[in-house]
Symmetry: C2
Subunit: 474 residues, 2 copies
């Protein structure tokens, strides 16, 4: 049994976060430094995420593959930006089968290298294009400080890697995949995001440009939640990914990659959950409804079965908590685990032809006539909850998003009531670094098609090139 | 485009095997020694396998989790049998984040260690039992000789790890999971298997005993296809997995583990496929039906759409090959890729109110009246094919299974027409090793409840303890 005590999120947010992770049995610390055990409740969320995203990928013509875990040093060295970007944080295998290896192998921090190497060996003609592949796998980055789901040495993710005949098609892919991420975050995770382009400093090592979705947590800290990269021909030149084009000339392919990770589970916690534990949007909750019986007589059992069947027959993920725990314990457990709807069926209620429905997000109770069409009622309630959770997060984001005109105010906001700051920037990295001195604030993304705030850089006062979203990051 | 030339399996089976893997685009060699790229066609089979097996695991109360990839040396050393068994074939990470690690970490060859460590930290009372967890993941064993899907340094698998209150319950779990494997192989993969218990020499390092399913390939070589291990309290003592039992005393838990891997894809090839490429049983084929149009007029297009919809609406996995290749090319491609049923829709046929259906396994063609209920017809045909593929493999196994009474005949069989040999054994490892001198033949399993053949050991002539299934192994 896990410790159920949860620190208040307004008292100590970091402690609250790890308390929720533990109390809801999402993950456990392991004896492998910087790595976690994803427990059944956490993994079930990941399975739901994979299910929905994978269907979206396949519906847009992507296929799954599996690339090797290990990358030979000479292969990763072929792309200098990539190795420079990842060298500080890779793990190296140097011994295999009791022998020192002639060439060391790194555990993939990401798989551009292996996809590129594969594409270069199989691509022949424009007729083979596009190749739109994805893999669900583990990757490893040797982080110093770790936090469950948000930053750990090993994490699970998907990485899409595609090659195309034209830059136009590849750029469209880059945008389309960002749009899939946006849609998934907003419609399934009920998490509003801001989309935009990373600055040169913050873009992926080796990309022409990186698009990103950025989310804001309950405490005003921002979370880079998914990225989509356009590589142009950069990797295809390093890895020799060529094809015979329609003019029968050899041409380098145009490439993209994009990924989201188990970090999304961290976002779900930090956006929706509360001092009673996990809160999950119905559309992503592995279990949407729990039925708890109060008492054990025939009418209670019969009604439970009946409601269970009605919900299950309407594709609602429902279970009856049939353990030998007390009803109060079952309520608390379903609550801490974030089951969106709880249906209580009690002897006394049934005498009045009633059952009780409790929604997890607001904890509101509703007495319901037993003759209600329970499946329709539940579906409507889940839709309502899904929308309200999104809107609540959106409203909070609005109160935590500031347009800012001077550095002093900028600093005061980030110190007192952090959130997203929108401010103009000249495009100079020196000014970006100046802002980083304020609690490590980084540019989240360049807001495309956004009107300038003042027309001048908030740091140096020179002419503004971009309007930028800034935030303190996880 | 892949090389489509396939060596005949009766001429050079090993070459035929790799030709099929390549021609059907199942896997590609990578530049990472001993590791393969699982290509879309191969991964789609793995997805189907995961889908079906995962549902069977969940229906029997198992939950998925995820354990770390890396195991600290001190942790794996806690169980001496385990480390002795796996030490020769693990890969070690010695550098992380540009620093030499204080303690090296091995990439999991299997995860008994980490599950045990986790269980020891969370298990408190008999009320927490059983804990029945599984994970789908990659593992690594530093093999010297590798072959796609059959033996590679990295492979994908599932590993179930459970702990129980009593030995009886754990032993039942061990048997039940073997039975799930048997059922899956026979009903989905259409591969008949023999079940039994491994000898002491062949059992899993650290297990009390290992149960196995053994399959026979087209060429008479046997393949260990899935194993289920009973650990008793061996690991729970090494890793201190204790619980307060019903008498309020501390007791060590009873443990099992069980796994199957991407090796199953190798079995599918070697049992069912032929000189024209891959043959897949309909129940596991990612795409069950391909529709190929001959000509491009309205009636052909309309009929294709109609049939597509009828099949898709009946949950048959169907696609229309709409590429700009010739019909002949499309036929060949669907054939090499192992699509179970091909429906040809041509102008000339339609004038006679006919379409043509071709089954992949026998390559039989059937003209069909357009008014046939195509969905029912296809479902019936798929069931028929599924049964016939199983029976064909079963019949072949019968002709390649020999009861044997003396070593000379044993040797002659294994040299001339290898297969499964059933012979008695005294239980002495020396006799097992003697048999290994014959083309590396190993005991596949002890046949439980099998009558003795002669009552004496085929090697030494002493009293027989077990009747054993012997075979040359992959």
């Amino acid at each position: 049994m896990k410790n159920r005590a949860i620190t208040s999120r307004d008292v100590d947010f970091a402690k609250w976060y790890t308390d929720v992770v533990s109390a809801a049995s999402l993950a456990d610390y392991s004896n492998v430094k910087g790595c976690i055990v994803i427990e059944p409740n956490g993994y079930a969320i990941w399975e739901r995420i994979m299910q929905e995203l994978d269907a979206m990928f396949k519906a847009t013509g992507h296929k799954n593959v599996y690339m090797p875990l290990l990358i030979p040093e000479n292969l990763i060295n072929k792309e200098s930006d990539l190795i420079n970007g990842f060298a500080p944080e890779v793990a190296w295998v140097t011994i295999g089968g009791q022998k020192k290896l002639e060439e060391r192998l790194c555990i993939r921090p990401t798989s551009e290298t292996l996809f590129s190497d594969y594409y270069s060996s199989v691509l022949k003609s424009y007729r083979d294009l596009p190749m739109k592949y994805n893999q669900w796998c583990n990757v490893m980055r040797w982080e110093k400080e770790t936090r469950p789901f948000l930053r750990s040495r090993e994490f699970l993710w998907q990485e899409g890697h595609t090659i195309h005949e034209t830059s136009n098609e590849a750029e469209n892919e880059t945008r389309n995949m960002l749009e899939i991420y946006r849609k998934f975050f907003e419609e399934f995770l009920a998490i509003p995001v801001i989309t935009g382009r990373k600055t040169e400093k913050e873009k992926f090592a080796g990309a022409e440009y990186t698009l990103t979705i950025e989310a804001l947590m309950y405490n005003g800290i921002s979370l880079q939640s998914g990225t989509s990269h356009y590589f142009g021909q950069k990797f295809s030149k390093s890895y020799d990914i060529k094809f015979l084009n329609r003019n029968n000339e050899l041409e380098y392919a145009y490439q993209t990659s994009w990924g989201v990770s188990t970090r999304m589970i961290g976002a779900l916690i930090m956006v929706h959950s509360d001092d009673n534990g996990l809160v999950l949007p119905p559309k992503i909750a592995p279990k949407q409804v729990v039925i708890v019986k109060i008492g054990d007589n025939d009418s209670v059992n019969k009604m439970s079965e009946e409601i269970f069947n009605k919900l299950a027959n309407n594709n609602i993920s429902v279970y009856i908590d049939d353990s030998d725990k007390s009803p109060g314990f079952k309520f608390a457990e379903a609550e801490v685990n974030g089951v969106p709807i709880r249906i209580e069926i009690g002897e006394r209620d049934l005498k009045n032809n009633q059952i009780t429905v409790v929604r997890r997000d607001t904890r509101e109770k509703q007495a319901l006539d037993v003759n209600t069409d329970i499946a329709s009622y539940t579906i409507d309630l889940m839709n309502k909850m899904q929308n309200e959770m999104f809107n609540k997060a959106l409203e909070r984001n609005k109160t935590k998003t500031y347009e800012c005109h001077d550095l002093k105010t900028f600093e005061k906001i980030m110190q007192d009531k952090p959130g997203f700051i929108i401010a103009d920037w000249c495009g100079d990295e020196a000014c970006e670094l100046k802002i980083k001195e304020i609690r490590g604030t980084k540019s989240r993304c360049i807001l495309e098609n956004h009107k300038h705030i003042d027309g001048k850089c908030i740091v140096c006062g020179k002419e503004a090139k971009h309007t930028v979203l800034w935030g303190i990051q996880y």
